[in-house]
């Protein structure tokens, strides 16, 4: 009797939950924002770009198979290798790791979704649009040609056509999407864990992703800053890299490699994270040395930022600097070695079960170690002078990238395929693919070391006969095709119809981590009820966990109000703090991405009107999205989430996920700004006289001192007004709130105006010299931020008028205040740099 009632209750709970999390059908399917759908699209798209990049690689290998080949012109070859490198790095390696994380992370953490599902969807659509745009350029003979690192002055002065703009704008657009995903993942790991999952119990995957996301946050903004500078030079003739007007191409190299070296680890660590999930499963024992692996992940994350100059050894950098960076390059080998030892130790302790997955893992580790060894060779500066820009480098870099990312990702495909589809990939075909890939890879890339040592430069469309280069090259080309064949086998296995194949049982691999708790076939709710976690491998160690989850014994077993909800917990101890309502399906992110894409794409062709229209449309879409989808005031203050616990439905300030997202975004924004400031001081170090009194016979005018200082004063006043507005709203004094907010808007706009007026009335010409252009770019950046800060305040005023914000429900205002701290800091730094520094210099 009692039992029957209970199961009735369970069934109706499950029905409501299912309804809330239902995936939209028909054409509305594309409005889905849930992590399972978006993650899947993301993964497939990134994989498609990988195949595209792979085809380009094969085309290159056909061209290089025989000496003095004229199948491709030099120009075509340049486009192809540039696209190959850029596609592999920007459209495959980084996105696929974000894709996989978006798909897996919530399931590993027992969360229903990531905290900002619509942001993930927006990131995905940006990625798709930008990626298709960049790849498409190749078919119109309009692709970039400068190599994946786009060194100026080659790319600023000697290339006509829009190739470089396609690269700069298209990829900046995608980088913004990457940063959006990073914000999502950081907040996800820190705040969306199941109750009880303290810091020492987090799945290793999540530690790695946390580290990588933080790295993205600090690595991508310098590149975006570099993109901004180069695009300003190309579009407006501001001379950042033009030597004849004091510019210096070295700044690009610095900014690019501050991004570029961490990038190598950004693509490597997540793959290792996958390995860290697979190794314990196949060894049937917990990972040995958990703390050591966390050390390795965090340590690598830090040290990888101290390596960038090792890509610039041959550019005449002072000996001491070279030394510093060589030292850090050697130091980073320590943590990398530590984690590989932990993996090997775990495999040795455990009782290993054979599987194709594991073969790929081992092949990846071995390949990576070989690549690491040649890497240590090139990190030793004198050797680098020899090997620089030869095929030795191409060999090294592919050992690292393919061993460190491709093989583990393929292993991940085998491991997680049943998780996504409920079917298994074939072990037989897997074996075949494995040997084709392993043999093909080594046959293709090992000979490149030799051709490099013989002296074959990279990035050449052809090479002369009679130097001994024929044999290694033809072998390489054959190997590349064998490798390609391996991928064809994998592809067939992934996409071959499997309707006759039976579904796998639940938790096919007998893994211990939470993502395997899902039923087969999987339900859209992510997890039936959110358990309390007390172990690193809950499925192995917590008794009756699955029954408890399935019967809704834990948290959030129901969706009484038909809303999508997930739990937010504290960062260290994962104690419950908040029940977060996450938004459901919507086309808004899609449209926002289309319009943002329009801005970037039309700017490439200098169709400014169309770009302007798109900018307005994307602004409107994003505001609508924020207005309707965020910081909604709930119908009741708290809600019972099961297990006798009640949680608030609305929080603001540091306990809210939105506040963290704002904080993290602003950190990234600050990093980009600091890169521009770095540029200013970089030019100061390379010039005898900076600011110069005159250039080319004409006097050089700066922004003056008075007006920038007025701008700073007004900016600080605006900031104070914001703080006052927040206080007044808290104590519910509406007049004071509106007054302060309006003063804030006025002051921020006046401040922007003053920053503009200084250089304007002084007659400063940004195209004259790098001093004026680097001053102008700092001012421009600050002006944009001040205007944006004003817009945010206007948004808060509107929210309060509309009754969507009040004294308790002030999350919007809390976030805007936080952003204003950064805006004020930006204004002060800009003022001090452009107005005061010239006095000291």
């Amino acid at each position: 009797m009692n039992d029957a009632r209970e199961s009735d209750l369970e069934r109706s709970q499950a029905r409501r939950l299912l309804k809330a999390w239902e995936t939209p059908r028909g054409w509305r399917y594309w409005s889905a924002v849930n992590n399972s759908e978006v993650g899947l699209w993301y993964t497939l798209t990134a994989f498609a770009f990988f195949l595209f990049g792979g085809v380009l690689a094969l085309v290159m290998r056909i061209q290089l198979a025989v000496p003095e080949n004229d199948w491709l012109t030099h120009d075509q070859y340049n486009q192809i290798f540039t696209m190959h490198g850029s596609v592999m790095m920007f459209l495959f390696a980084v996105p696929i790791l974000e894709a996989i994380s978006i798909m897996l992370l919530p399931e590993m953490l027992g969360a229903r979704d990531l905290p900002f599902p619509r942001l993930s969807a927006y990131g995905y659509w940006c990625f798709l649009i930008g990626g298709v745009f960049v790849c498409g350029s190749l078919f119109f003979d309009a692709a970039p040609r400068g190599g994946w690192f786009m060194y100026p002055p080659m790319t600023t002065q000697y290339q006509d056509g829009i190739g470089v703009d396609v690269w700069l704008l298209g990829l900046s657009f995608i980088e913004i999407a990457s940063i959006a995903a990073a914000v999502e993942l950081i907040v996800g790991v820190l705040k969306c864990r199941p109750p009880g999952m303290r810091l020492n119990l987090i799945p290793l995957y999540a530690w790695y992703i946390l580290v990588v996301a933080v790295m993205i946050l600090f690595a991508f903004p310098p590149l975006i800053a570099g993109d901004v500078l180069m695009e300003l030079e190309r579009a407006m003739d501001w001379p950042f890299f033009d030597v004849s007007r004091g510019g210096d191409p070295m700044l690009w190299q610095h900014l690019f490699w501050i991004f570029g070296h961490p990038e190598v680890y950004i693509v490597f660590l997540p793959s290792i994270a996958l390995v860290a999930m697979m190794v314990p499963t196949f060894a049937r024992t917990p990972m040995a040395g958990y703390g050591w692996i966390v050390l390795a992940a965090v340590g690598t994350g830090f040290l990888s930022f101290g390596l960038w100059v090792h890509h610039m050894f041959t550019t005449g950098i002072p000996g001491i600097s070279i030394g510093i960076f060589s030292a850090a390059s050697e130091a980073v080998a320590i943590p990398t070695g530590v984690q590989i030892f932990c993996f090997i130790a775990t495999l040795l302790i455990g009782r290993v079960k054979r599987a194709v997955c594991l073969q790929f893992v081992l092949a990846g580790l071995a390949t990576f170690i070989i690549g690491g060894l040649t890497g240590v060779m090139v990190a030793i500066a004198p050797f680098d002078y020899q090997a620089h820009d030869t095929y030795f480098i191409v060999g090294h870099l592919h050992y690292v990238l393919v061993g460190g990312t491709i093989f583990p990702i393929v292993a991940g495909f085998y491991y997680y395929y049943p998780f996504v589809t409920g079917k298994r990939l074939s072990e037989r075909l897997g074996n075949l693919a494995f040997w084709l890939m392993l043999i093909g890879f080594n046959v293709a890339f090992f000979p490149m070391h030799l051709s490099g040592l013989i002296g074959m430069p990279r990035r050449v469309a052809t090479y002369p006969s009679g130097m001994g280069l024929e044999i290694p090259n033809i072998i390489s080309s054959i190997g590349a095709f064998v490798l390609g064949l391996g991928f064809v086998v994998l592809l067939w296995d992934v996409f071959r119809p499997k309707s006759k194949q039976p579904l796998v049982r639940r938790n096919v691999w007998d893994a211990g981590t939470l993502e395997w708790s899902g039923e087969v076939p999987d339900q859209p709710w992510g997890i039936r009820s959110i358990p309390i976690i007390q172990s690193r491998y809950p499925l192995w160690e917590q008794k009756n966990l699955l029954e408890g989850i399935d019967r809704g014994k834990f948290y959030l077993p129901d969706a009484e109000e038909g809303r999508r909800e997930t739990l937010v917990t504290s960062a260290v101890d994962a104690e419950l703090v908040h029940c977060l309502r996450v938004p459901g399906p919507s086309f808004l992110p899609f449209w926002a991405a289309v319009f943002t894409g329009g801005v970037f794409i039309f700017s490439t062709y200098h169709w400014w009107t169309a770009a302007g229209v798109c900018a307005v449309m994307s602004f409107c879409t994003i505001v609508t999205w924020l207005w309707t989808g965020t910081a909604e005031i709930p119908e009741k203050p708290t809600k019972s989430v099961g297990m006798g616990q009640s949680l608030p439905l609305y929080v603001s300030g540091p306990s809210a996920v939105g506040w963290w997202a704002m904080f993290i975004t602003m950190l990234g924004d600050m990093t980009a700004f600091m890169s521009l400031v770095f540029g200013y001081f970089f030019y100061w170090t390379v010039h005898e006289e900076f600011p110069p009194a005159e250039w080319d016979g004409a006097e050089v005018y700066g922004p003056g001192t008075l007006w920038p200082m007025v701008g700073v004063a007004l900016g600080i006043m605006a900031w104070c007004a914001v703080i006052l507005a927040r206080k007044s709203n808290r104590s519910d004094r509406s007049i004071a709130f509106y007054g302060a907010a309006i003063i804030g808007i006025v002051c921020s706009l006046l401040s922007a105006l003053a920053l503009f007026y200084g250089p304007y009335q002084n007659g400063m010409d940004p195209t004259q010299h790098v001093y004026t252009s680097s001053t102008a770019v700092l001012l421009l950046w600050t002006i944009l931020h001040l205007v944006l800060g004003g817009v945010m305040l206007a948004y808060c005023i509107a929210r309060r008028i509309a009754g969507r914000m009040d004294r308790q429900h002030d999350a919007d205002l809390a976030n805007v205040t936080l952003a204003w701290h950064f805006i004020a800091l930006t204004t002060v730094i800009t003022g001090a740099t452009v107005a005061l520094f010239p006095w000291v210099a």
Partner: protein, 138 residues
């Protein structure tokens, strides 16, 4: 047999404000951050010095600056390492599945902070050694 899930009530922990330093997340990144700051400052000093002071100048000023930075940073790292070490020594030896009990959270943080401090110390010494061995800008 009961199918009730087997859960112990979670011990309520004191809030972040009451926790000692060594039990907060940012504690583990103190030493690596110091390495990063030291590294950046050394690099910038060397770069500016090489550009502005010129190749012939006596490197005394440069070496003095680097010594000052190092003397500031190393003791702090050593202190972080030492106090984290005390933190994790209080529990069972950490191998092989170190600290996988919910109650071990503090020891885990201490252990990780300790290892990261050692790594940062080594990396910082690497940086300093460069100045000892490479004495010129070119």
């Amino acid at each position: 047999m009961s199918t009730e899930p087997d859960i112990h009530p979670i011990a309520k922990h004191d809030s972040a404000a009451e926790r000692p330093l060594s039990q907060q997340l940012w504690w583990i990144v103190v030493s690596p951050s110091l390495w990063a700051v030291h590294f950046m400052v050394c690099y910038l000093t060397a770069a500016i010095w090489c550009e502005k002071a010129g190749v012939q100048a006596d490197p005394f000023a440069l070496h003095f600056a680097i010594t000052v930075y190092t003397v500031v940073v190393l003791p702090v790292m050593a202190w972080v390492a030492w106090s984290s070490h005390r933190e994790f020594r209080r529990s069972e030896p950490p191998v092989p599945y170190d600290f996988d009990d919910p109650a071990d959270r503090t020891h885990f943080l201490g252990f990780t902070a300790f290892l990261l401090s050692l790594l940062s110390l080594v990396a910082t010494l690497f940086t300093v050694l460069v100045f000892v061995f490479v004495r010129s800008c070119h």
